[in-house]
Amino acid sequence: MSTPAVQVRDLHKHYGTKRAVDGLDLTVEQGEIFAVLGPNGAGKTTTVEILEGFRHRDSGEVSVLGIDPRSADRAWRSRVGVVLQSASDHAELTVHEMVATFARYYPSARDADEVIAAVGLTDKAKTRCGQLSGGQRRRLDVALGIVGKPEMLFLDEPTTGFDPEARRSFWDLIESLRDGGTTILLTTHYMDEAERLADRCAVVRDGRVVALDEPSKLGNRARQQAHVRWTVDGRLNEERTTTPSALVAELTARFGGEVPGLEVQRPTLEDVYLELVGEVAP
C-alpha cells in the first residue's frame, strides 16, 4: 500500500485554556475523498489549517504528502491546493485574469480556460470577480485551488451558499478530480454532501475524532434497527427490526402482493451524526 496522503498522530493545539484540538488522529489515503464532519468549534478548521501549513501545532505528528507542513516550502505548496472558507480579494480582475495569474505561480499548472470550464464559469470568464454571485465566487475559489494541479486538495466548507443545482455540479467536479487521482480532504456541514462524496468520513467533537468510517457504515449505521411502516385499514403500523428484508417478505406474503403504504427507513447519516456529536435529534 502506498504511503498515506495525510497522517496525523496525537495532534494538540490550544488557544489560551481552550483545547481546540485534543489528541486527534487521522489518516487519509491517496486518491480518496475524505470528509471531516463536526459542529462549529469542534476543531475542524484548526486541524485543516495546521495541515495546510497556516497554523503551528503544540504537539503531535503531522505529515502531508510525506512532508511536515511546518517546514512547508514552495515545492510542497505547488503540490497542495487550498480552498479557504471565504475570500473576496482581487475584485477588479476578471475571472480569467485571476485564474491565469494564479496559474503562473505553479510549475505545471492547468490551462486557465480548462479550469474555468471545469467549475462552470466559462460564460463569466470576462466578468470581474467582484461582480460574481456568492456561489460563482465559491466556484472561482475552487478554480484557484485546483489550477496548480494539486496532488492533495483541501476544501473548507466548499458549497456553503450554493443552490441545489450548483451543488450537484460541484459534486461532479470534485468526483472527477478524485477520479483523476487527486486526494481530497473536505470539511462540511452538509450530511448529503458527505454521503454523496466521501469515501470515508470522520466525525470530530471536542478536538478529537469520535467516529471514522464509510458514510454508509458510520456509527454502526448499517447494523442499527430500521423502521418499517405500513398501513392496515388506514391505521399506521410500525415495527423496528434489524432484518427489514425478512419483515418485508413476510408482509408481502401476508398481503398477497403490494403492502399498503410500505416504508422502510434506515437511520440517515444526519441521525447518526447528531447522535455522535451529542445533540438530541428532534
Binding site: E52, A75, L84, E92, E97, Y105, Y106, S108
Partner: protein
C-alpha cells in the same frame, strides 16, 4: 501485437512528468514581474483611486499657487521664487507619499481583510515576489504621477524645470529612495490597523498631519521651530527638502532653516526608515486577519 512498443513510452513519459513536477518552479523574477503587472491592472481599474492619486498633487499645487501667489507675491528675498515653483517640490514629495505609503498601508490591510493575502500564502508564490510586485507597481504609479505633475506645473503654471543633469540625478535618487522607503513603511504600517476600514481612518490623518508640518502646504522655514523639529523625525520633510534642492534655484538654500540642502542627512534618514521599515515589515507581517485565530 508486439509487446515492445507501448510499455517503454509510458514509463519514459511517467519519469519525465515526475521530474518536471518536482523541479521547475517559476523563477522569482518572473513572479515578481507578474505580480507587478497584476497590481497595476488592478490599480488602474479602481477609477476613483486613480483620479485621486494622480489629480490630488496637481489640484493642490493649483490651489496653493493661486491662493498664495494671486497678487504676484513671491517666496524669499528678491528676485523671489514664484509660488507654483516653490510648492512644486512639496507636491512631488506628497505625491510619492500617497502612492507609496498611503496606497500600500490601506491596500494591504484591505486585502488581508478580504482573505486575499492568506490565499496567496497558500500558493507556491514566494512572499518576496509579492513585496517586489508591490514596490514595482508603486514605482510605476509614482513615476506616472510625478511626470503628470511636472508636466502640469510646466505647462499650466509656467514653472521652469531644471535643465542640468546633476539636478535630475538628485531627483532620481531622492525619488527612488523616497518611493522605496514609503512603500516599505506602508507594508510595515499595514499590520497596525485591526481591519481594512480602520486603515483609512488611521492612515489619512497621519498623512495629512505630515503634509502640514513637513513644508508641503506651508513654507517650511516659516513654521515654528518645534514643528520643524517634529517634522524632521519623519521622512516626508526630508523628501520635500530633497525635492526643493532639485526644483528651486541654488540661492534658495539660504532660506532653508539649516542654510543647506542636507543631502547627506536626507539620504541617511530615508535609508534609516527603509531599513527599520524592512525589519519591522518582515517581523510583523500578517497574512491572516487578526480575528482569524
Amino acid at each position: 501485437m508486439s509487446a515492445t512498443t507501448p510499455a517503454p513510452t509510458t514509463t519514459a513519459a511517467h519519469a519525465a512528468s515526475a521530474a518536471t513536477s518536482t523541479v521547475r518552479l517559476p523563477s522569482l523574477a518572473s513572479m515578481a514581474l507578474e505580480r507587478t503587472r497584476i497590481e497595476l491592472v488592478q490599480f488602474f481599474r479602481i477609477r476613483d483611486a486613480v483620479i485621486f492619486i494622480f489629480a490630488y498633487p496637481i489640484v493642490m499645487l493649483a490651489i496653493f499657487a493661486t491662493v498664495f501667489g494671486q497678487d504676484g507675491t513671491r517666496v524669499g528675498p528678491d528676485p523671489g521664487i514664484p509660488f507654483a515653483q516653490y510648492f512644486l517640490p512639496g507636491m512631488v514629495a506628497t505625491g510619492v507619499l500617497l502612492s507609496s505609503f498611503q496606497n500600500l498601508a490601506m491596500g494591504i490591510a484591505t486585502s488581508r481583510d478580504e482573505g486575499g493575502l492568506k490565499r496567496l500564502r497558500a500558493t507556491p508564490m514566494p512572499p518576496t515576489a509579492y513585496f517586489l510586485g508591490k514596490i514595482g507597481s508603486v514605482l510605476v504609479t509614482s513615476l506616472v504621477q510625478t511626470v503628470l505633475l511636472l508636466a502640469s506645473a510646466a505647462l499650466l503654471f509656467g514653472v521652469d524645470l531644471p535643465s542640468d543633469a546633476a539636478r535630475w540625478l538628485t531627483f532620481m535618487w531622492v525619488f527612488l529612495l523616497g518611493t522605496a522607503t514609503g512603500a516599505i513603511c506602508g507594508v510595515a504600517f499595514s499590520s497596525v490597523p485591526s481591519n481594512g476600514k480602520a486603515a483609512s481612518a488611521l492612515v489619512t490623518p497621519i498623512v495629512l498631519v505630515l503634509q502640514f508640518i513637513s513644508g508641503v502646504f506651508f513654507q517650511y522655514d516659516q513654521l515654528p521651530s518645534w514643528m520643524q523639529t517634529v517634522a524632521s523625525l519623519f521622512p516626508l520633510k526630508w523628501l520635500a527638502q530633497g525635492m526643493r534642492s532639485v526644483f528651486l534655484p541654488d540661492w534658495a538654500r539660504d532660506i532653508e532653516p539649516s542654510g543647506s540642502w542636507q543631502h547627506g542627512a536626507t539620504a541617511a534618514v530615508l535609508a534609516a526608515y527603509l531599513v527599520v521599515g524592512l525589519v519591522v515589515a518582515v517581523k510583523t507581517f500578517q497574512w491572516r486577519r487578526r480575528d482569524d485565530g
